[in-house]
Symmetry: C2
Subunit: 599 residues, 2 copies
Amino acid sequence: MPSYKAPVKDMLFLLNDVIGIEKYANLSGFANASPDLVEAVLEEAGKFCEDVLAPINYSGDQQGCTRHSDGSVTTPDGFKQAYKAYCEAGWTLLNQPEEFGGQGLPHVVGFPVEEFRMAANQAFSMYPGLTQAAISAILAKGSEEQKAKYAPKMISGEWGGTMNLTEPHCGTDLGLIRTRAEPQADGSYAITGTKIFISSGEHDLTENIIHLVLAKTPGAPDSSKGISLFIVPKFFVNDDGSLGARNRVSCGSIEHKMGIHANATCVMNYDGAIGWMVGEENKGLAAMFIMMNAARLGTGIQGLSQASVAYQNAVAYAMDRRQGRALTGPADPQEKADPLFVHPDVRRMLMDGKALVEGLRALAVWGALQVDLSHVAETEEERQFADDLISLLTPVIKGYGTDKGYEVATNAQQVYGGHGYIEEWGMSQFVRDARITMIYEGANGVQAMDLVGRKLAHNGGRAIQTLFGMIDAEVAEAKSNVALADFAGRLEKAANDLKAATMWFMQNGMANPNNIGAGAHHYMHIMGHVALGLMWLRMISVAQAKLDAGEGDAAFYNAKLVTARHFAERMLPDTGALRRKIEAGSEAMMALEPELFAA
Amino acid sequence: MPSYKAPVKDMLFLLNDVIGIEKYANLSGFANASPDLVEAVLEEAGKFCEDVLAPINYSGDQQGCTRHSDGSVTTPDGFKQAYKAYCEAGWTLLNQPEEFGGQGLPHVVGFPVEEFRMAANQAFSMYPGLTQAAISAILAKGSEEQKAKYAPKMISGEWGGTMNLTEPHCGTDLGLIRTRAEPQADGSYAITGTKIFISSGEHDLTENIIHLVLAKTPGAPDSSKGISLFIVPKFFVNDDGSLGARNRVSCGSIEHKMGIHANATCVMNYDGAIGWMVGEENKGLAAMFIMMNAARLGTGIQGLSQASVAYQNAVAYAMDRRQGRALTGPADPQEKADPLFVHPDVRRMLMDGKALVEGLRALAVWGALQVDLSHVAETEEERQFADDLISLLTPVIKGYGTDKGYEVATNAQQVYGGHGYIEEWGMSQFVRDARITMIYEGANGVQAMDLVGRKLAHNGGRAIQTLFGMIDAEVAEAKSNVALADFAGRLEKAANDLKAATMWFMQNGMANPNNIGAGAHHYMHIMGHVALGLMWLRMISVAQAKLDAGEGDAAFYNAKLVTARHFAERMLPDTGALRRKIEAGSEAMMALEPELFAA
């Protein structure tokens, strides 16, 4: 059975030393986030995740959810109690606005808690996670009445929330949606249609579930410009807040999936269910994207989370399991064999894991800060700067983060040898759970296209220029520090590959947009490497300064320096190869008739 | 539900046009392998795999094996009938020696059938697959009496076979084995111990199972030099060939695994079970390696197989599923959306799959031919040449082949979007089944170390020089052909990276063997890319000659040219990055104390 230890120390290093959260104390929400409070929050969250959520992760996977003949769904043993404890401890309130009962803490404090929660139990986390996404859409686009009616009980966790986008014939291409919304005399709508892959669509954790549903009103344009968003509660809510009759929405079946077994993935049938429009007619997709952007960042963190917990367990196994001898001679001659840790190829997988997990964590925390700054920074310029950066990097955090998360989880499983393939050791679950993160909330190919097809050119390329400017400045400064110069030089080389690839797109995309599509995935990975490189540069700058000053835990800071070097040596070389792949263009890739693929 | 179509045409292209099997007609065994017979064998095998084995692949995964309280194991519905039909059709006989009832066909004809069988149903294939491995050890090291007693009924498929190496505390490091073999007065041995992860260890397909078991005799050296190999039949075999009493060997439990659910992975308990030594005392590991080498090639083919079937289904899905529009404008304006095939990033995954599947298939067929030639080529020089090459490339076919197989299967699943994650679509099974191939028969890190630590330096590096000589000659020739020159130039560049990495190991391995270990995995992948590049060069040389001559299916040959170009554009650039990683050495990788990995 695997275990989980929340990486509180690493997170505090990022928040206090790398980002320097104290610097932002004058901003709205940050006043509540004193270093002491943040440390207390992280320690309590870590403890909760370790003690309550992690122990029901494996059993939840084995048992899965059960749908009963009446359409009700039971979550695995222990989930109800854990959810109750989760709400009672106030974990649903963290980032929510104080006017609806939340604690109003910044995202940069909430995201670490999300990482811990998802690492401890991804399937569980999706219940409050989807609720959180639904809340954000209601708060952003709902009427005052809708906010007052739904937000407080969703924020308290008494009610759940869902996102209903996908239908059997349409996933990515939401313009194909067929679910209809017929206006009723009282201003409500009767919703009819079938939605699939609805995470947390039905369960026994909350007394009500507030579904956010995309549907088309009569006569709406037959494209993504004709989609509206509706609130469809499972139980109607009376004016006094009490629950009324059951709405005509039900769970038709739950899917048998590769992983996240403990989260109910539902087919939801809407049979004239009554709903209320959120925001403007035909503007539903924009409202949904508010949820999607948060969900995409969250999904990136899921990738990091599964990598983190799988990596931790592989480290423990490699310290414990003895097999073979070090190439340089027995490390423990008194034992019959050395620990796996002595083998360079095991080290390779673990160091890759360490470099990626800690790098992705830094990127996620930095990303969360940009989300905050895009809302509450003092000047319009600062808000725009942050918004540009997080808009650009969101598909990278999602796409690169989950690709790498799966890779790290797979390698961690590999460290276990044959035992990694046996379910009871738990490594299989991490891989199976991580696999969905590359698919949902926009498959990673969609992320790559969002990056190169939308984000890159937006506002005349302002965001990418902002990123380049930031990297150039930090690289130039680091190169003047002898302890950082080697790393900075390697990052500069990788950033040059990113610049060259960007330029290549500009020069070759107009003539044939397939040239951009064919390189999109590679480009997303170059940018991921460069973004992680920048994070590692920041981490080692702090670590080196601490070492120079003789402050803090020298071994911890030294480990950061070594891990950054590993990242530079074993990851950054990829950017040159990726650039060459992009520059190959789309000709060969697009040349063959589909019939010739059959072989 | 996925389907399977055996790639007979591609295989015949390799056998007839690329390898030119007719050239070898004068060699032992090849006389039976006329082009007509080979075509008939492949078509019949393809049909059997498509019609009998593929239809029970998904159901077998869902149902799994069942162990009963008496220790017996039932395979999933349909497996018994399929196995009976498999034996009756004579598929177990293909490569086996005629003196024991086999058909004596060369491996180069048997390997294609293995690919089809494993692609259609990997879990099923492991039952005859393990039997085949056990037969090869008995034929190589057994006494005449043992061969006569066991081989015929194993070859006919009436009896199964297994390999018993792993114990709870030892997998890779077989020197740690604790299973004891006490000599008995009659020359037999009483075997006592526990073996785990025994594929096909107990099942209902055959009336008897012949276990090959590694154990230690009293006073044997406490290392891998003290291991002997024993035949331990489930039921004793009387002198007249009839079955006698049950031996004291039983299945204690079966594992709950990530995949290959339809193959029983058993804990086998030996409680003074009677066995007979195979070959010499304390030479068991060498005997086992005869099985292992064949098994490693077979495992590489499993990686290819899962890639092949997953890729096929992804191609079909991408042709069928409509979502979004081509970047260059609607491809099917009369439809509401275009097929997935128009999207470059979907193409990328499918073209990668095509380039890898067809390249790995060519490498596997070439490898099978080397196995044959190492035994039956006319001169000692030719036999040694073939043996050098296949010894060198076996860990590459296994390690690189299964790493890439998993990658292709994962990408094929990705093409399905959300549906890829739902078990009933079958793509999850391909990924889950492919995952084991990176682990068993020596985890891929062990393959990498076998390659760089053993195979590379063997006989003063003769094998790698042979490989370089072959590549240099073929590249030089191809560069003089304008149609092949570009590809040949790219392959030359990749081969230069392989040469440089080899040189780096020679220069830096002596001082610190960890420098070799730290680059072993990367080196295995460079060699895989170069080996596939060589195969692609051979394929396009033939394809171009056919096109020039106006012979055959021009579209098929053109597809080979395009796919080779894709391989050169999207895979070969990796060798430069891999080389840089190797040249980084082991310093950072080995620097940290294990305690500092916890984060």
